[in-house]
């Protein structure tokens, strides 16, 4: 589990959510559970991210009946969402790369 600060967390959470929903359509609770397994986060703060990504057109939602109770809202990634995910992943990789390089550099000295 990773412990991180808010601003940083936002970016990471968005990336994670994008990656998960790209794999398969998921509903809110399922997503929150999945994300909180990876990152230590207040589960309440994941919904706003879903909301934002939907508002910005990266996700589409649809309702599907469930056996246990009321219908569930599923999230589906759009073309724009896929593009966004790609950008985010690249950004993350280059970011992580430069941080790693820096760590290696400071180790030598």
């Amino acid at each position: 589990m990773i412990l991180i600060n808010t601003q940083f967390k936002k970016g990471v959470l968005e990336l994670l959510v994008l990656l998960m929903v790209e794999k398969k359509d998921m509903y809110g609770y399922e997503l929150v559970e999945a994300v909180s397994k990876v990152v230590n986060v207040n589960e309440g703060t994941i919904y706003p991210i879903l909301k934002r990504l939907t508002n910005e057109g990266f996700f589409e939602t649809y309702l599907e009946e469930s056996k246990e109770g009321p219908p569930r809202k599923y999230y589906h990634i759009t073309v724009a969402g896929k593009k966004r995910k790609k950008e985010q992943v690249e950004e993350w990789i280059s970011f992580a790369q430069s941080v790693n390089d820096f760590i290696k550099g400071s180790d030598k000295k």
Binding site: G28, Y29, V32, V41, N42, E43, G44, T45, Y47, P48, I49, L50, K51, R52, N55, E68, G69, P70, R72, K73
Partner: protein, 492 residues
């Protein structure tokens, strides 16, 4: 915290959003909590697993691009100052980038806000005057008049302060409501995220186009006022423009005259320069006013440099003109002019003679004895005279009146030419074309003449007085004495 409590609090916090959005969000959280409970978690654990409510709210609002609502722990004064600075910034920006029309409209709205504030003052004034009466009775019975004055002063101060605070808040609120979402302060550089109120969650673009539609649909009273104001300003400018046109015509004529004078060889360069730059300045002003009336654009750079240039030339011109004026010689010579024409008339002195209209320039020459010699001097280049005299009797006195006619028509023309000729040499002659009369007499004759004149004047005075008395007597119906008859008959 229970589920319903949580949802209630959350609902309150995101109240700013559209209702359907609020419902959607609440459903999400409700579903989450229900799922947790289904998994075997207790209700309160499920709720607390969601985390801090404030944090959730902040995140949610930011998902709608809504700025975090001001934190209560934040310094209120700081916030207030920031807001004011914000508004001032916007005003300055708006004023430097908006058209006159929009600014006038804005002024009217500010006046409107002040009017509202003024109306709000009325209840406060009523409270103050009512309170004064009550306080007067109360305080004078306790501590006398001075006590009343102190108490009422303090009370008035507090009420005024309350009004002041109230007014400031009201002003800011009204101002914000009007301008936060309006186009007036809408700028690319200063675009801020503006909270969308419940009823305004329609997409931004829709919002704007709607607002514009409303603007185009009907003229509000404000628009009419603005139009009237623009019309008045334009009419005023138009009248100014007429004067500017006259000015330009006059200045053009002046430039023409300058060129003419220059070709004659008169070199008042400073004046010419000044006149030319004044003409150019006039044309600049004309262009600005003209473009304003017909809503045309000015070529500001060219205008600026032309104006600057002509101002500089005007300054140089004034400087040179001052030197030129200082160099100009003003000549008052008349008597010493060699070219003057002299005409002499001679009259024999008589005991009862009075000279009239011969001027005051008497010169004593005892060799003349009983002869009176009159000299007329004038410059024949300009003017020619024909001199003669009129003789008349008044009672016992013989009066000679000097008369002359101008016979030459070259008078003005020659003066003008002489003036120009003199200007070439930076010289102005004054009075040299006047007529000068000198009377030469012996001292004895002079005294006699003066005494005769005095006597005659006394006679005139007496006769005029007498005439008045006779008229008065006649008017009042008295029988008039015989010496009155000539006066009365004359009138008839």
């Amino acid at each position: 915290m229970t589920k319903s409590e949580f949802l209630k609090k959350l609902k309150k916090k995101i109240d700013i959003l559209e209702e359907s959005e609020v419902e959607d969000i609440l459903k999400d959280y409700e579903g989450f909590i229900d799922e947790k409970i289904n998994q075997g978690m207790s209700e309160s654990d499920a709720v607390s697993s969601l985390g801090n409510l404030d944090e959730i709210t902040e995140e949610l609002l930011s998902a709608y691009k809504i700025k975090k609502t001001p934190n209560k722990s934040e310094n209120i004064i700081n916030h207030f100052v920031n807001q004011i600075i914000d508004i001032i910034e916007k005003i300055i920006y708006a004023f430097s980038h908006k058209s006159l029309r929009e600014i006038i409209r804005f002024m009217f709205e500010i006046v409107g806000i002040f009017l509202i504030l003024f109306l709000c003052k009325i209840p406060f004034e009523i409270i103050i005057s009512l309170g004064k009466n009550v306080l007067y009775d109360l305080c004078t019975s306790i501590g006398g008049y001075s006590f009343y004055e102190i108490v009422s002063g303090i009370a008035k101060f507090f009420i005024e302060m309350i009004y002041l605070i109230f007014a400031i808040i009201l002003f800011i609120k009204l101002f914000e409501n009007r301008y936060k979402n309006s186009d007036f302060f809408d700028t690319k550089e200063m675009n801020r995220n503006v909270p969308k109120k419940k009823n305004e969650v329609i997409k931004e673009s829709e919002n704007k186009s709607k607002a514009k539609e409303i603007e185009h649909e009907g003229l509000s009273i404000l628009d009419i006022l603005v139009n009237i104001c623009m019309f008045i300003i334009k009419s005023f400018v138009f009248f100014v423009l007429i004067w500017v046109i006259f000015y330009i015509v006059g200045m053009t004529a002046a430039v023409g005259i300058s060129i003419y004078l220059f070709t004659l060889g008169i070199t008042y360069i400073g004046f010419y320069l000044g006149i030319l730059s004044l003409l150019i300045l006039g044309i600049c002003i004309f262009l600005v006013l003209f473009n304003f009336i017909f809503n045309r654009k000015n070529n500001l750079v060219a205008l600026f440099f032309t104006t600057l240039g002509s101002l500089i030339f005007l300054g140089i011109g004034i400087g040179i003109a001052t030197i030129e004026v200082a160099q100009t010689q003003i000549v008052y010579d008349t008597e010493n002019n060699q070219n003057l024409e002299v005409q002499t008339f001679e009259y024999p002195m008589k005991e009862n003679l009075v000279l009239h209209n011969f001027g005051t320039n008497y010169k004593i020459d005892d060799s003349l004895n009983d002869l009176i010699r009159v000299e007329y001097k004038y410059n024949p280049d300009f003017v020619d005279y024909h001199f003669y005299e009129e003789n008349e009797m008044y009672q016992d006195f013989e009066i000679i009146t000097s008369r002359y006619d101008v016979t030459s028509f070259d008078y003005n023309h020659k003066i003008f030419e002489q003036f120009l000729e003199d200007l070439k040499h930076k010289k102005i002659q004054i009075n040299n074309y006047d007529l000068h009369i000198t009377v030469y007499v012996s001292s004895e004759v002079y005294n006699q003449l003066k005494s005769n004149e005095e006597k005659l004047n006394a006679l005139y005075d007496r006769d005029y007085d007498l005439e008045d008395i006779c008229y008065e007597l006649n008017n009042q119906g008295y029988e008039v004495p015989s010496y009155c008859l000539p006066y009365l008959y004359e009138e008839m």
